[in-house]
Amino acid sequence: MELSIIFEYAPMLLQGLQLTIVISIGGIICSLTLGSVLVALSRSGIRALVILVRVYTEIILGIPVLVLLYLIYFVLPEVGIRFAEIPTGLLTLTLYYSPYMAEIIRGAINAIPTGQIEAARTVGMSNFQIAKRIMVPQALGLAIPPLTGICIGLVKDSALLSIISVHEFAYQTKQAVARTFAPFELWAFVALCYWAILSIWEVVMRKVERRVTRYRETG
């Protein structure tokens, strides 16, 4: 065990970690957005759109992320659509995770009793007011725990982008391993880093959830 190697290569690894964080945040924002769009489309009542979303979801549920990554990285350029590495990675994460996000958002919205929305309408609330006062506060509390899980999945899968040489955490580790021949120490260290960050994130989100669902305690 040569732990000094870790300190020696720490700056290089940290650089990768930065990119991992940036890509993860980007991926989470993009897939949440696309996920919301998917929910809106499947609630639009237009049959063709509903079926389209359904087929897309089924495809994503059956396809491995790595295969999706290769489809975008190798196959799309052959039909004339070319992206750089980082956009390819972001696109993969977005396309892969948005149906899962959509599923969670849809579940949270459906869990709100229709009676409440009807009641809000009878007291003369506008659609915007209903969304802001009735739906979002309740749906948020329901959606945060599963969304946290999915986001953790997204952060973990961003390590796959090292395969198409996006210079993120795992890629930088591979580089360090190639130079030092100390693979076990480095990979174990990186695993601990991921674990620490994701555990903190989980704790923070649990706090956020408790804050958002305060209304349940007083009622």
Binding site: G62, L68, V79, S162, A170, L198
Partner: protein, 218 residues
């Protein structure tokens, strides 16, 4: 744009690689169930040490990327004297990873069994082992089945990761052919469709099993 010759030529190679994927999948599922059962027994035992061991295992597996776990196992095995076993490393890593999720699923299933059933079993004189095999496990398994199916679909979708340690499963075979032929669409499109088809048929099979078990229990 679509080279049919390449497509047909690569089918035999892809088919034999699909067999490797299937073997890997079966190994991973068995390991996952094994680790999951062991870890859930530790967690529900009254041993504090075992409880924390199991909790740490679950948290560690859920908090780190599978890719990183795979490399840790792959480079960790030689330190234990096992060298050059890429398939073993991949199966072990995916099995360990999935075992953590299986633990949680089985725990929910077991806690779902009413305490009254346990008490009833004890009062008619069943031994502890018999209570587990006849009362707790069959019920817990039936309740957990949908979640387990989900988890094993994820395991199937994790098997392509074995390609990074050069196990020639379906995806890696695709990468190799692609690198030689300089053409991807004829290879990755069938592979993607193959995975979707396998995942769909697996879910259907599990649905069928679920229905059978439900009829059996009621």
């Amino acid at each position: 744009m679509f080279n049919t010759e390449l497509f047909f030529n690569s089918i035999p190679i892809l088919a034999s690689a699909a067999v490797v994927t299937f073997k890997l999948f079966v190994c991973c599922v068995c390991l996952s169930l094994m680790f999951g059962t062991l870890s859930v027994m530790l967690q529900l035992s009254n041993n504090r040490c075992g409880y924390w061991l199991s909790r740490t295992y679950v948290s560690l597996m859920r908090g780190t990327p599978l890719l990183v776990q795979l490399f840790v196992v792959f480079f960790g095995l030689p330190l234990l004297g096992i060298k050059g076993q890429a398939f073993l490393a991949a199966a072990l890593a995916i099995g360990l990873n999935s075992g953590a999720y299986t633990t949680e699923i089985l725990r929910a299933g077991i806690q779902n069994v009413p305490v009254g059933h346990l008490e009833a079993a004890t009062s008619i004189g069943m031994s502890r082992l018999r209570t587990w095999t006849r009362v707790v496990f069959p019920q817990a398994f039936t309740v957990s089945l949908p979640a387990l199916t989900n988890e094993f679909t994820i395991v199937l979708k994790s098997t392509p990761l074995a390609s990074v340690v050069a196990v020639t499963e379906l995806t890696y075979a695709g990468v190799i052919i692609q690198a030689r032929a300089f053409s991807a669409i004829e290879i990755f499109l069938p592979i993607a469709i193959g995975y979707i088809a396998i995942a769909l048929s697996f879910t259907q099979l599990a649905r069928w099993l679920e229905r059978r078990l439900r009829d059996f229990h009621t």
